[in-house]
Symmetry: C2
Subunit: 344 residues, 2 copies
DNA sequence: TCCCATAATGTTAGCGCTAAAATTTATATC
DNA sequence: GATATAAATTTTAGCGCTAACATTATGGGA
C-alpha cells in the first residue's frame, strides 16, 4: 500500500506515470523517456530494466503531456468531403498506411461537401496543433485559406492539380484534362450526340464536366439539353433517374458520360430495364474506375484515377517535409488512365 | 515590440496563449478559460472583451494542454476493420455525426481484419487516453480485452450482439439469427440445393454462415460441397469466381446465399455472362442491403442492416455514459430486416 | 447597520511529459 | 596517470491549460 501511486487528493486520476516507472527502474524519468522514444541513446541494461518496469506497472504513455512538452502532436489532420464515399476511402487508406507506419495519428473529418463546414473543421483541427494537414481540393473559403497559411504547418491539397496556386503542397490529377480526354475518346469512336450526367457537383466534378464540354464545343457537338446535373448526392439509383431526364429531353442521345461510376452503374441498370443496348444504342462511360466497373455487364469504360497513390503520395510528402527534407516538386500530377471497355 | 509574445529563449513556439488573451482583455487567464468553455459563468461584458481579444490575436486553444490539465481528452477512439468498406463507412458516419455534434474528436484506426493489429491499435489509442472507445465485434485477443477492461473508460462493442458477454456496452444485430432467417426464407421459397459463398470471413460473417447452415442442417438440406469460402478480401470480381467454384463442385445448386452484397453483385454479373436466369435457374441473396441492391437487375434479395443507426446508437450510449447517466440497457439489438426482392 | 448567500473573478498549484543544460561516468589519446 | 572527448544520465524548468480553493463584489433580509 505504501507504493500505490497517488493516494493523495491531487488532480491525478492515479494513472501510472513516467516517474512511477522511473523509480521502479531506479533511474530518472528523463532516462525512461529516452529509453522509450530514443532507445539508442540509453544503455542496454537500463533499457531492459525500464522495459520490465513498464510491463510490471502497465504503463501507458500520455500523449497529451508529450505533445505539450514536446511542442508537437504527432498527428496529422485530414479533411475530406465524406468517408462514406468509395473514392475517399481509397485515398484515406493511402494516407493511413503511411501515417501509421511513421507513428503518426490521423484526425479525420468530413465536410459533407460544404465549404463552411470545411472552414469550421479546419479551425477545430488546428486546436490539436497537428504537425501537418491534408485537405481536399484547391478551392476553399478565404477564411480557411487564411487559417492554413497562418498555421505554420505543412499543408497538402489533395485530389486535383492545375486549377489554381496551391497554399503549399499539392497532389492530384487534372480533372479538366480527364474530362477532355473522355470527350475526345467518345468523338473518336464516332458518337455525335453526347450527354453528360452529374451529381454532387463538387469542384472536381465541375472541372471534369467543363473539360468534357470544352472539347465537345470545339468539335461543334455541344448541346445544352444534354447536360443533366443535380447537386444531390450521387447514388446508383440517381444514375437511372438522370438517364430518364436526359432521354426525355434529348431522345436521340447516343452516348453519355457519367461524372462517376456509381451514376454509370445506375445508367446501365436502367438501360437493361428499358432494353436499350449498350453500346449499340447508347454508349456509357464513368469516372474513377471502381472495382466493380470491370465486372459489370457490359464492362464499363471509365477513367482510372490513382486514389490510393494520391493519399500515399500526399502523406509521404508531408512526412518528408516534417523530417525537414526539401521538396523539390511541391505540385505532383499523378495522371489518369482512360480505361476503354465494352460500354463505350 | 514590447507586447509581442515570447521573445525569450523558452521552448514555446511563440504561439498565442490564454494568458496573451487574458492580458489583452485585462482579466486573468482562468476567466478567459471560463469565457471560452463555460460562458454562462462569466459576465457579458467580460465575455465580449475576451471574444475581441481572441479574434484580434488569432488565438487557437491548445487541446494537449487542455487534456493534460483537465484529465480528459474530449476524444473517442474507433477501431474498425477497414474504412474502405461501404459497411463501415456507414457506421462511421453514424458515430461521426453524434461525436462532432458533442464536440468530441474521433480517432479512427483500421485493424484490416487482424486481431493482432486490433490489439496494437487499441494499445496505441489508449495513449491518447480517449474518453471512450468503440471497437468492432465481440471477439478479440485476450490482451486487448485486458487493456480495455483496465482502461477505466466506457467501451462499446459494435456490430454484433448475443455471441458472448460484452466488456461494457454492446450494440449490433445477431448475425446468426440473420443467417438463419435467410435460410428459412430460401427453404420456404422451395429451394432445396442451397449454396453459401463467403469471403473475408470475419467473426460476423462466420456467424451468418453458421446460422444459415444450422437451419439447412435442421431441414436435412446441408451439403458441405456447397459451402465455398475464402479468407480473401471480398470484391465484386471474387463473387463471380466463387460462383464458378460452387457450380463446378455442385452444378445442381438452385440458390446461393452470399455473405455480403458485393459478392452477390459479382454472382449476378457472372450469371448474366453464363446466361443463367435469376431466380428461375439460380436464386441469389446478399447481405447488408447496400444502396445499389435495389437497382441491380434483377433486384437483390438481401438482409437490411441498420448500419448508420448502429454507429449513432453506439456513440449516443457513450455520450450518455460520459455525462454520468445510467444506461439501463447496456446491450442493444437493433435487429435486421429481410428485404425480399426479385433475385430470390 | 450587519450578516450571509450568491455571483464573478483571481490565485495557486500541478497535469505528465521533454528540451536544454549540467553533471557524472566511460573511453580514448598521449 | 593526466587530459581531452564522448557517452550516459540527471537536474531544472517549463509546455498551456484547468481544478480547487480563495477572494472580492453584489444584493437582499433581519
Amino acid at each position: 500500500m505504501a507504493n500505490s501511486p497517488s493516494q493523495n487528493r491531487s488532480r491525478s486520476k492515479g494513472r501510472v506515470t513516467l516517474s512511477d516507472v522511473a523509480s521502479m527502474a531506479g533511474v530518472s524519468s528523463m532516462t525512461v523517456s529516452r529509453a522509450l522514444n530514443d532507445p539508442e541513446r540509453v544503455s542496454e541494461q537500463v533499457r531492459d530494466r525500464v522495459r520490465e518496469a513498464v510491463e510490471a506497472l502497465g504503463y501507458i504513455p500520455n500523449r497529451a503531456a508529450r505533445s505539450l512538452a514536446g511542442q508537437r502532436s504527432y498527428s496529422i489532420a485530414v479533411v475530406i468531403p465524406s468517408v462514406s464515399n468509395a473514392v475517399f476511402s481509397n485515398v484515406i487508406k493511402g494516407i493511413y498506411d503511411v501515417c501509421s507506419a511513421r507513428g503518426y495519428e490521423m484526425l479525420m473529418g468530413n465536410t459533407y461537401y460544404s465549404v463552411q463546414q470545411e472552414s469550421s473543421l479546419i479551425a477545430k483541427f488546428l486546436t490539436h496543433h497537428p504537425d501537418g494537414i491534408i485537405v481536399t481540393g484547391l478551392n476553399m473559403a478565404d477564411s480557411a485559406r487564411t487559417l492554413l497559411q497562418g498555421a505554420g504547418i505543412p499543408v497538402v491539397q489533395l485530389m486535383e492539380v492545375g486549377e489554381s496556386e496551391p497554399i503549399d503542397l499539392n497532389v492530384g490529377i487534372s480533372h479538366r484534362d480527364a474530362g477532355a480526354a473522355m470527350a475526345r475518346y467518345m468523338l473518336d469512336k464516332g458518337y455525335r450526340h453526347i450527354g453528360v450526367l452529374g451529381a454532387q457537383m463538387d469542384h472536381r466534378a465541375q472541372r471534369r464536366i467543363q473539360g468534357f464540354i470544352d472539347v465537345l464545343a470545339a468539335a461543334g457537338r455541344y448541346d445544352e439539353r444534354r447536360i443533366v446535373a443535380t447537386p444531390e448526392p450521387s447514388t446508383v439509383r440517381l444514375g437511372g433517374l438522370l438517364l430518364g431526364d436526359l432521354l426525355a429531353a434529348a431522345p436521340d442521345t447516343d452516348a453519355v458520360f457519367c461524372i462517376n461510376d456509381d451514376l454509370a452503374y445506375g445508367v446501365i441498370y436502367e438501360c437493361q430495364r428499358r432494353h436499350i443496348r449498350i453500346p449499340q444504342q447508347l454508349a456509357v462511360a464513368g469516372f474513377n474506375d471502381l472495382e466493380a466497373s470491370s465486372c459489370i455487364n457490359p464492362s464499363l469504360t471509365s477513367v482510372s484515377t490513382p486514389l490510393y497513390e494520391m493519399g500515399k503520395t500526399a502523406a509521404d510528402m508531408l512526412m518528408r517535409r516534417l523530417n525537414g527534407e526539401h521538396i523539390e516538386q511541391p505540385v505532383v500530377d499523378l495522371g489518369f488512365k482512360l480505361q476503354a471497355r465494352d460500354s463505350a
